[in-house]
Amino acid sequence: MPTALACRNLTYAYPNGASSATTALLRNIDAVFPGGRVVLISGKSGAGKSTLLHLLAGLLRPTSGEILADGQPVSRWLTAHRDRWRRRVGIVFQQDYLVSELTVLENVMLPLIPRSGSPRYWRESSHNILARLNAVELVGQSVSTLSGGQRQRVATARALVDAPDYILADEPTAHQDLENAQRLGHLLRQAAERGAIVVVAAHDRHVDKWLKVDQHLSLADGNLEPAP
């Protein structure tokens, strides 16, 4: 199990229109996300929460600074090594990015395929996680027939099916009712208890109704600070 995911002096800037100038979305962020804890990052829309999660997941390269996983600078690793490390990361995106040609079960099985194990094991694991997220009745359905909330639960199941060491969830309950949000909160808590690093980004003020948070950070003006 990982001990910590950290950002050191992390800056991310994006190009400002056609000119060569850039706008810094995140500025010199230093933070540590320890294993076995659930960390909530809150902030207004556009504050950079999703960008920070994408950086932590190795999907974006920082403009400067680095992301350290167990002290290793994964953000500076060669692409092939970073991709291999990313297999240990489960990401719940704001958009679900489900493959519309596949069924729900096939979508959830996808992260297991590069791993060893039999198709039977993949199916059983997928069924199990879907059941825990109250979505087992959807297994044979095409994802194109699902509602927004159902799609989000399937995407969450896909992120968690492989019991990842790092769980990065971006607004994971945006389309969920309280009962389903609480189920997800329970799953994330269990993952933290087995030692995983859990980082949740949300602007929902009622997060405490479904998720027991160990640390609450606030992202504003490019800076990440403990929430008041």
Binding site: R8, N9, T11, R61, P62, T63, S64, G65, E66, Q72, P73, V74, R76, W77, L78, T79, A80, H81, R82
Partner: protein, 344 residues
């Protein structure tokens, strides 16, 4: 100047190769000037991304160069002789290309050797998450650029010189080398028995050192010995092949032509034989370069470099054995079939 599609294809591929290496060289210069793995600033992170893209460009250049060289050799030996009056194999085509032809081949082989070393080091580099050998490979890319530019210029000169109306005398080049039979039986003052003996002794020594280097990949001296023996073996193997052993492919004596081996009537044997010879020429120095490199690296990269050095030694061994089978094999077959050597 000829506008044969084959030469145009090779020339276009060469231009593309030079452009890719030129592009990678721009990054290589920046790496040489600014690379600092301890720095996490924007410039260093940008350089890290660019170094991966540049490595991809050089890998493509290497592949294109191999493809163009194989196409050129095939064309020179199996297509262009039919168009150059008087040419029967690559010897006549080279004659038609005048001085540009041999220079083009030399620069091509040099370019191949440089990118071969780059590729082996890149394998070690890619095996490490933080790519510790980026600066070393950047310097190799900078070394490759002038060689590839010269190869392109020589190819241009060779294509310019070719004239399909101008006859050449292919056989005169081969047979004018000697004035008497006695001269034909000697090379550089030594008889062919002497060359064959040297070839045999060096081959046995090379095989033994390749096995030693392969099995003791972490030690430096077997690789140094392997490289030294390979450098001695290469010219002697070439002489033994062209002056003595090729006769068993041709079925006639004193036809000292390295290019006729590539012809279909000799089962295109030149391709695997000379490919094996080139592999020895490339892999043996790579094995020593990697074992020297391993000594200067941190433990994870060191292990990977040792592994690659072992692979290079194993490839050298396989190439020598292939060369041996394809050159000595026909001679032994001849001896078994007819009960005597071609020389009596």
């Amino acid at each position: 100047m000829t506008r044969h599609p084959l030469l145009l294809a090779v020339f276009t591929t060469d231009i593309l190769t030079v452009l890719l290496i030129l592009w990678a060289s721009a990054t290589a210069v920046r790496i040489a000037l600014h690379w600092n793995p301890q720095d996490t600033g924007a410039q260093q992170l940008r350089l890290q991304t660019q170094s991966e893209t540049a490595a991809l460009a050089v890998a493509w250049a290497f592949g294109l160069h191999l493809l163009a060289t194989a196409t050129l050799i095939y064309g020179m030996t199996n297509i262009l002789p039919g168009m150059v009056p008087g040419a029967m194999c690559g010897t006549g085509v080279l004659q038609a290309m005048q001085s540009g032809g041999p220079r083009m081949l030399i620069y091509r082989l040099m370019g191949l050797a440089i990118l071969w070393i780059w590729w082996r080091i890149e394998n070690v580099n890619q095996s490490q998450p933080e790519a510790p050998l980026v600066p070393a490979n950047a310097r190799i890319v900078l070394l490759a650029l002038p060689v590839f530019a010269l190869a392109l210029y020589a190819a241009w000169q060779a294509a310019l010189a070719m004239d399909f109306q101008q006859p050449v005398d292919c056989c005169a080049v081969i047979y004018d080398q000697f004035h008497s039979l006695e001269e034909a039986r000697r090379t550089l003052g030594a008889g062919h028995t002497g060359w064959l003996t040297a070839f045999g002794v060096l081959t046995v020594a090379l095989v033994a050192s390749a096995v030693a280097a392969w099995k003791t990949a972490g030690r430096r001296w077997p690789h140094l010995l392997l490289a030294a023996l390979a450098m001695a073996w290469l010219p002697i193997a070439a002489i033994a092949l062209v002056r003595v052993l090729a006769a068993y492919h041709y079925g006639v004596l004193h036809h000292h032509c390295p290019w006729c081996l590539f012809l279909p009537e000799h089962h295109l044997a030149g391709f695997p034989i000379w490919a094996a010879w080139i592999v020895v020429a490339m892999e043996a120095p790579v094995a020593v370069a990697l074992s020297l490199l391993a000594a200067r690296q941190a433990p994870p990269a060191q292990t990977s470099a040792c592994h690659q050095a072992g692979l290079a030694a194993r490839n050298t061994l396989l190439a020598v054995l292939i060369f041996l089978c394809l050159t000595v094999g026909p001679a032994l077959w001849w001896r078994l079939r007819f009960g005597m050597w071609l020389t009596g």
